[in-house]
Amino acid sequence: MNDNTYTLFYAAIVCFICSFMLSLFAVGLQPAQQKAAKLDLYRNILNVFELKKEDGSEMIDSEVESTFQASIKEIVIDRNGKVIEGQAFSDIPQNEKCELLYTKFPSNPEDCKLSVYSKVTDGVASAYAIPLEGKGLWSTLYGYLALEGDGSTIMGITFYKHAETPGLGAEISKKWFSDNFKGKKLLDNTGSLASVKVYKGKAKDSGLPEDHVVDGISGATITADGVTDLLKHCATVFDPFLSKIRKAGA
């Protein structure tokens, strides 16, 4: 066998073995990965609604699943805030779902669908979580914003998927950052949408109304600005639905 044929043959075998092994592992691990991703999402939503165990300990996987099923309900809405009954969001074809990212949002079809989660206490929806999506520094940030029954007061915020710099932008998923949002309001005194700004520095130095500003993250200004922008955008997108809740509550 001459030299070239041997080299080509060798390369082909290496490629075949490597790709075969990798696809074997990728397929084999897929169920575990999907389960881990789903549980992580559940955990984040329970967190944002402050559903914890009474003794404060961490929930194990099966508890996360059962608590989620018992106290969280998915609501499918269209972009005008109308509730659509009897359909699970996961059954809706991808092209009928709204693209939430602000660069893509305007090109959505008129009747595209969105989903929100509600926290059900004694059979009544007592709080709502709207999905968040927007650009940080390196990556798209995905999260949820939980609002109390008044559709304005923030219960919590969580980011479950992003690829920001560990120690800097990635602090957005830390407790100290999300804790700052508790009790802030989307609406100002006149009832118009004011959203919440992540200020560069300490919130108390910003001169903005206290209900609409939180502390920034030093070294992560662009990620923080991204959070400000996505909050404003997503609050606007879900405003038709939230207004209905506000009216029903009033």
């Binding site: 030299d3 041997y6 080299t7 060798y10 390369a11 290496v14 490629c15 490597c18 092994m21 990798l22 592992f25 990728a26 691990l29 575990a32 990965q33 881990a36 991703a37 549980l39 992580d40 390196w138 998927k161 690829a163 560990p166 120690g167 800097l168 990635a170 030093s218 070294g219």
Partner: protein
């Protein structure tokens, strides 16, 4: 140093004398990136140890038949496959950590230590010594990463392994975390100090 002597040379040598980061100045990129918190540094180190010893063993087995013209490509192929494997396993069983590390795990492929050891050692030695060499270099990498990460976490965030170390009273009295340590330049400075300290202790004079 007595304990070090009893280890095989392949392991003891890269720990201090020939440390891949501090002596050969390889793998600096990831050493800067993942040393903000100790926990991430440890997981990253374990991943590097696995990839390094794995690729060393596999390439050592392949060394006799390996056509030299496509040598580097085959090495990269093996290393990349191992890295993807680590990434997939982390995603399935250590979801939280993989979320924090994901970008950097992929970058193990470009870590010069891995390709460097394959070229310099595994292609010329049999599998068992190659495994020890990979393990030793991985541990050397771990040592530097953990020292730098521990210092950065204490100085930059006031915690160690995520547990608060500086009492709240100190903050109330006006103590402030050192912001520089959280940023990459902090790692550069600490790494420089580490290399300086090591060279001084080993009695190496300044190079010409």
């Amino acid at each position: 140093m007595g304990m070090l002597k009893s280890l095989p040379k392949q392991i003891s040598d890269p720990l201090v004398e020939n440390n891949p980061i501090a002596s050969q100045v390889l793998g600096i990129c990831s050493a800067l990136a993942v040393t903000v918190m100790l926990e991430q540094a440890v997981v990253m180190s374990l991943a590097v140890i696995f990839v390094l010893s794995g690729s060393n063993v596999i390439l050592s087995f392949m060394r006799k038949g390996l056509p030299s013209r496509i040598r580097i490509i085959v090495e990269m192929c093996v290393i990349a496959s191992l890295v993807i494997l680590v990434d997939q396993v982390l995603r399935a069983y250590f979801f939280q950590l993989s979320k924090e590390l994901s970008v950097f795990v992929g970058l193990i492929i470009t870590n010069c230590i891995v390709l460097g050891r394959a070229e310099a050692y595994a292609l010329g030695n049999s599998p068992w010594p190659s495994f020890l060499d990979g393990l030793g270099n991985g541990l050397g990498y771990t040592l530097v990463l953990c020292v730098v990460a521990a210092l950065r976490e204490i100085l930059g965030s006031g915690t160690i392994w995520g547990i608060a170390l500086i009492p709240q009273a100190a903050y109330d009295m006006g103590y402030v975390n050192m912001g520089l340590m959280v940023l990459p330049p902090g790692a550069f400075i600490l790494l420089g100090l580490y290399i300086w300290l090591q060279n001084t202790l080993l009695g190496r004079a300044g190079e010409e």
